[in-house]
């Protein structure tokens, strides 16, 4: 069922999956459709089967040398564009992960094709302020469940970017899971005023080593159509 998306779940893949289902207007995100009540049997997805799924062309696999396919899929992926913002060195990737296996899994590391440094972050309250920081022990994805990577919450941090990421650009991200499998996805950059959380570097144990602001809030000074300035609020990580 979700084999193809497991290997290469892209934004367009999601759209295709949705619309392919009889043009269902109410097509939910895969996060919805793969909720425990309706997800396919975990046994339907085995890593052995997956290797035969859609093989990406050579160009698309540059981000990761995945060896084991995952029972985890990701949908609704995007990355915050940095072009025209104050801090173009870092950004974050988001999406909805679905674990269609019967075992709890964890994202233990990530990489991307734009920079050499990728971290897994969470938002946490530190000294009364919300900061983002590396998440200790990785990002969990419960068995037959979903985990959402979103501004103000868990996310894949892309750091030390040498060049700005413009809206519409694609970033390829590879997630490595606790079972050794990988999830490769492509995230298209979108302008986003939020996600301006200050970055609390270092490990979660060693607090306050360094604080920088991932301030990408000011949109390119254009048109002034969006006055959102939305602040993402969050209460937990």
């Amino acid at each position: 069922m979700t084999i193809a998306t497991a290997r290469h779940n892209r934004r367009w893949g999601t759209a295709a999956a949705c619309a392919g289902a009889l043009l269902l207007a109410g097509c939910g995100s895969s996060g919805q459709s793969a909720s425990p009540a309706s997800s396919p049997s975990p046994s339907a997805v085995s890593t052995a089967d997956v290797s035969t799924a859609a093989v990406p062309s050579a160009g698309s696999s540059s981000a990761g040398s995945s060896s084991v396919e995952s029972g985890v899929t990701i949908a609704d992926t995007w990355v915050k564009a940095t072009a025209g913002t104050e801090n173009t060195s870092m950004t974050a990737a988001f999406g909805v992960l679905t674990n269609s296996t019967g075992q709890d899994l964890t994202i233990v590391s990530a990489s991307n094709d734009v920079t050499d440094r990728t971290e897994l972050h969470e938002m946490a309250m530190v000294d009364g302020a919300m900061v983002m920081r590396p998440v200790a022990g990785g990002i969990p994805i419960p068995a037959n469940g979903t985990t959402t990577l979103a501004p103000g919450g868990l996310h894949v941090m892309i750091m030390d970017a040498k060049t700005p990421i413009a809206p519409g650009d694609d970033v390829q991200v590879t997630l490595t899971l606790s079972d050794g499998s990988t999830v490769l996805f492509e995230a298209t950059a979108k302008e986003f005023a939020g996600a301006n959380e200050s970055y609390n570097g270092g490990s979660s144990a060693a607090m306050d080593t360094k604080t920088t602001s991932m301030d990408v809030g000011s949109s390119p000074a254009q048109s002034g159509c969006d006055d959102a300035g939305t602040e993402v609020t969050s209460t937990d990580g």
Binding site: G13, A15, A21, D76, T148, G153, P167
Partner: protein
Amino acid sequence: MGESSDQAPRRYSRRRLLLTGAAAAAGGAATVAIGGGVALAQGRQDAAPPALVDTATADTTPADTAPADTTVGVEGDGVAAGTIGSATVPFHGQHQAGITTPAQAFAAFCAFDLRKGVGAVRLAKLLRLLSDDIERITSGRPALGDTAPELAAAPARVSVTIGFGPALFDRVGMPGARPAGFADLPAFPEIDKLEDRYGGGDLLLQICADDPITVAHTQRMLLKDTRAFAAMRWVQRGFLRARGSGSEGSTPRNLMGQVDGTVNPTLDADVDRLVWHPGPGWFTGGTMMVLRRIRMDLNAWDALDRSGMEAAIGRRLSNGAPLTGTEEHDEPDLTATDATGLLAIADFAHLRLARGIGPPLQIRRRPYNYDDSPGSDGDSDVGQVFCSFQADIANQFVPMQQRLAAGDLMNAWLTPIGSAVFAIPPGCQPGGFIGEGLLT
């Protein structure tokens, strides 16, 4: 038709290839039921049937770890199935939605100029972003990165139609791809008082929905994704009667009070002939939009008595019947005389001139009203955002407009103050994007 699709680099074919597989594999995962269709689609719809499908509002995901969930359905703000808010118009199809779709109650027409340095490659990126946004929004899901996803919970038949201005083809280095017959309108010096603030544009987004908040939120999301690529040129908002206020399927009235839009092609064959570009080339299945902002001088119009108004229109105000008939859709008798011995539908009547002689070359009219803030004199600033779709502007719209400019008595009360034309590309299938035929 010389336009071919091989003038732009084929950069995205790999993507489509992959996605086809993804669609096939993942299609079965969808668990959303189809609600009862709302029975107000009228006339015909084609491969992309804007037949209205109720969105059974999807359940939200189980509680997950991220507090700010910007990508999935929103709990508590879903709209009940079967309501005006829950109805959707499919995005994918042979043609774009918002053309033969029965007119939604509210509209925003947004025009942009491409920024310097935005060529075919960047334009394709923009159109991919927009197509993804539109696919989500029209199905009642928030666009990616929507910080107010609750506002996307009522699709209310929202449709977004993308169009290209004549200059866009030059700007992206593809002048040969401009469809034949597609160009800025000629001047109509007898009537035009065009203002730059309502004219032109490289790129158009026509956003229509039965709920004004849906229009506003959709516009906000799309502008956000567009502004890095293109600068806002103008926005024109329009409205019709709210859904439920009038009888479904009836011809709307404009703010002068006239039944406006009686003659509109509805039969499949007529629409195929009159609206959709026959091809060949990338524009096959596309259409051309004429958008004219027409100010109404209601003060002067008010000075006219009812029979004078009817003589000017050629139709009765009460029900839109031609002056030679009794019902709205009665065929006008253009040769009939009245007791004076003169033509019952005068030579200057709008109806006669709009219709013309010879084989009818109708257009698909989809006008909206506007009502802006009155000036300090207290006079209403009202009119019509005239919008029509036709396969060929040069053959269908221009001759009609020339007749009207020369002889329509209504010109005494109507002043075109804005004018723009857009080539509306064909629709796209799942995995594709609007304009892909031009840019891939």
